[in-house]
Symmetry: C2
Subunit: 325 residues, 2 copies
């Protein structure tokens, strides 16, 4: 996510005067290209936060803590923080934002803004335009999540196990061999036999949609795909709605690439921006009930792209310290 | 399926006096071991149906037609036919049977019995004990289906594409590269934007459960797994039911291996019999709504094992021509 974040910053229209890159001691020292220069990655030092208008934090499940350790200090130093981790997402004082859905929530920020979980972003981006117009009575979602969601070690595990059909990758972030398998355990089983990933989808979606009781039944499954998450989403609307009306709404929804015919797959959306919806269809014999197939690049719209979109909004609305768009 | 069917016959307690093996001209000639002998596969010839008590037909999607061409002749020759194909499953005169669920339907057979679709069998085996006691108001299912469901060429496509990351298998039965991908298209998109696999799940489940209006919303997805189908199943019961009661029902259900804690994966159930249910959990905030994770070896319980179980029932209940159990 960190590397793609830098690429997205590079592509964005943000006027970046200076970019500072920090990492843990382990990754410090490497050099990363940015707008024609090569920037060194330094070991993180809160003293260097001073003077930054905006700081991104990003950490995978296994390497959590950067934002927990440093985000408050960064805010106290006068910076705005966009955190891609899960530590602050459910904090009522922290806006949790998908720009196409709830940009308005940014207005109440107190220096810290959270980027939602990857599988939440694509699901909510697709459901929000429907929720706004017709209400949602119930959502059932099953995910097909790529190994890159577990960071670099996830990609390494899939590559190693694909090349070694008899053995598992020693440093794998997954509970079992992922090559040739499907594992219904993302983040570990906990409360009520749900995984942390499933709870993220439920709780983050409710917060972003401002619908704290929305019924969401989620099953999150890791599959042997490198990049790109897919979701099979069932939803029931509160108001009566026709298939034709839903098609029109999705076709006009911001950030959604809607295919009325055919479908996309993870291999097709990897490396692309946006949320891809296809196979929208009514459930036979059930009124106001529909299914759809929803895809996104979990590193891009599911993480880095969404974070940079938030930054652009903050900048264009004059919400960064000392910025004049 | 054909090869595993022979293995299952070998393991069964059926007193097989003589086993005749037929195939298309392409596969005729090979020799297959059975109870210490090596039997030759001959090109199919309806004249040889005479004197058979029981004939199995099996064909993959791409090689349909064996039962369509020969099943009626086999019945007319005095044999009972168990058909693993989809040609007769929805015929109201043909029982569609999962022995643990609707063995009783066998009684009305007129010589032809259909074996359900693989993804139907495991879903209905897991839902039937719940349906019987509490009724079902609604089912939402997303599948994670292995390539062996598409027959030998499916396994070949996955193996070839795994070894050749840049190219697709020329004779692949899949619409796109399956290695590293997830394809929501099993059997082709048709009526109402549903695939034939999804319609099979809906219509076969309604027939087996004798509940012709049951609401089933299905998404069938092919994933890069060799053997073993997984399903994320959401269900709402008509009667009020507690999690504890459901656990007891599943733990005591015939043919179900229920894990109250943890979960299984396709790699763990491949080569095993039975339907594996785990991760049973209530949907937060919704009464009488639950999720579960359901697995089976699609070649065994999803096809061959179920067919041989039907044969054993027919034999033990004296429903085979000239048989005395």
């Amino acid at each position: 996510v960190g590397r793609v974040l830098i690429q997205e910053m590079e592509r964005s229209r943000l006027p970046v005067n200076q970019l500072r890159l920090w990492a843990t001691a382990r990754s410090a020292g490497c050099r990363i290209p940015f707008r024609g220069r090569r920037l060194s990655v330094r070991e993180i030092d809160p003293a260097e936060f001073i003077g930054c208008q905006l700081i991104f934090f990003s950490g995978t499940e296994g390497e959590k803590g950067a934002s927990r350790l440093y985000a408050r200090q960064a805010v106290d130093s006068g910076s705005v923080v966009i955190d891609n981790g899960s530590d602050f997402r459910l904090d009522p004082k922290v806006p949790l934002v998908i720009p196409e859905v709830n940009a308005r929530d940014l207005k109440s920020h107190r220096g810290l803004i959270a980027n939602p979980n990857c599988s939440t972003i694509q699901m909510v981006a697709a459901l929000a335009p429907i929720h706004r117009r017709f209400g949602l009575r119930r959502v059932v979602v099953s995910t097909y999540q790529s190994v890159s969601g577990a960071g670099r070690s996830g990609l390494e595990a899939l590559a190693y196990e694909t090349a070694n059909p008899k053995s598992s990758y020693a440093a794998s972030p997954f509970a079992q061999r992922i090559a040739g398998n499907a594992i219904p355990d993302i983040g570990g089983l906990g409360e009520m036999e749900y995984t942390t990933e499933e709870w993220k989808m439920v709780r983050e979606a409710r917060k972003i949609l401002h619908d704290p009781k929305l019924s969401i039944a989620a099953t999150a499954v890791r599959v042997p795909v490198a990049v790109g998450h897919a979701e099979a989403i069932y939803f029931e609307t509160r108001k009566k709605v026709s298939l034709g009306r839903l098609r029109t709404v999705l076709a006009g929804a911001p950030g959604i690439i809607y295919d009325r015919q055919g479908y996309r797959t993870p291999l097709e959306v990897a490396g692309r921006d946006g949320v891809f919806v296809s196979r929208l269809r009514p459930v036979p014999g059930s009124a106001n009930s529909f299914l759809m197939w929803c895809l996104a690049d979990n590193i891009r719209k599911g993480a880095a792209t969404n974070a940079v979109q938030i930054a652009q909004l903050l900048y264009s609305q004059g919400m960064l310290p000392g910025s004049s768009p």
